[in-house]
């Protein structure tokens, strides 16, 4: 008896889109290039925000002046990463389903999602209280630390997926 997720992965890989990407000479590489360069946009901007929240860079500027305008831009970057990443997954879903590092990457992304949600529902709601703090409170620094470590893990796993 095959599980539903596995059946979905099989169906995705065998579908027209999956087959087209897999069998094209350049399509996979082109999508991969946009995925890799999106790292600078998404993980790069998030890393600078995290380093500000940890009190390491841009400490003399109010955190809100960095965080607020970057929220939307970072979401666009994430949408870009997710779309290009999903297209790559689509072309070899059946194979990736069994890849332990791919599963670990999905798990790490889920942890990052929860971390982001907790931060935005929590400390970010009263950013005015700690806007100018050189060293924001423990919960803010924890969220920033988890985010930095998480994105580093996602980048490392993303690269390692191709090696197993």
């Amino acid at each position: 008896m095959q599980s539903l997720p596995l059946l979905c992965c099989r169906w995705l890989e065998a579908s027209w889109v999956g087959t087209t990407i897999r069998e094209s000479d350049n399509l996979f590489s082109v999508i991969e290039t946009t995925h890799v360069l999106g790292i600078a946009w998404t993980a790069g901007l998030i890393a600078i925000v995290d380093l500000r929240l940890l009190g390491i860079v841009l400490t003399r500027s109010p955190a809100s002046q960095l965080v607020r305008p970057l929220v939307k831009l970072t979401w666009y970057g994430f949408a870009w990463m997710f779309t290009s990443g999903f297209l790559l997954f689509w072309s070899e879903a059946d194979k990736l389903y069994f890849n332990p590092l791919f599963r670990a990457k999905v798990l790490a992304l889920a942890v990052l999602g929860v971390n982001q949600l907790v931060f935005h529902r929590g400390a970010f709601q009263h950013i005015g209280d700690w806007d100018l703090a050189l060293n924001p409170s423990g919960s803010v620094r924890l969220a920033a630390g988890v985010s930095l470590a998480g994105w580093l893990t996602v980048i490392a796993l993303g690269r390692a997926i191709a090696y197993v």
Partner: protein, 158 residues
């Protein structure tokens, strides 16, 4: 020693052999390369967004540069070091790779453009908006770094 001979020397050096023979060596160095790419990219984007007036309105343009240059230099050093190590995996192969040569040219141009941009950043008075020259130099620097990234990815495809 010309460039080709230097590549041959590096290929047969202890570092070249160690990376080729290790199972995860190349992958680990690639991870460092990608993580530092993210960090340098983040610094460049934040500086560019400030130049174009999208973020940090009360932080002087020159201060953004002063705040991020340490991090950017660290990320660039990690990128260059890991890049040299990746190159050591197959110097003779990369020597002949058109995308690799293009990447080196674009890298030189990007570093030069970044130096010009930083000079203009430093000259911007506190509370002043970016001059058209600074905006143009910033856009050019970003475009050249994007070119470096694309050429870098193409190296592995050719």
């Amino acid at each position: 020693m010309n460039a080709l001979e230097a590549c041959a020397w590096l290929a047969h050096s202890g570092i070249g052999n160690a990376i080729r023979q290790s199972t995860w060596g190349f992958a680990l160095i690639e991870m460092v390369h990608l993580a530092s790419l993210a960090l340098l990219g983040g610094c460049l984007l934040v500086a560019a967004l400030r130049v174009f007036g999208r973020i940090l309105p009360t932080c002087a343009i020159a201060d953004v540069d002063r705040n991020l240059i340490g991090l950017a230099t660290g990320a660039l050093s990690a990128l260059l070091t890991s890049g040299v190590l990746l190159f050591a995996d197959g110097p003779l192969r990369y020597y002949a790779n058109v995308a690799f040569r293009t990447k080196l040219l674009l890298l030189a141009a990007a570093l030069a453009a970044a130096a010009v941009t930083r000079r203009l950043l430093g000259q911007t008075p506190p509370a002043a908006a970016a001059s058209p020259n600074l905006k143009a130099a910033t856009a050019l620097t970003l475009a050249l770094w994007l070119g470096v990234g694309i050429a870098g990815r193409v190296i592995g495809i050719l």
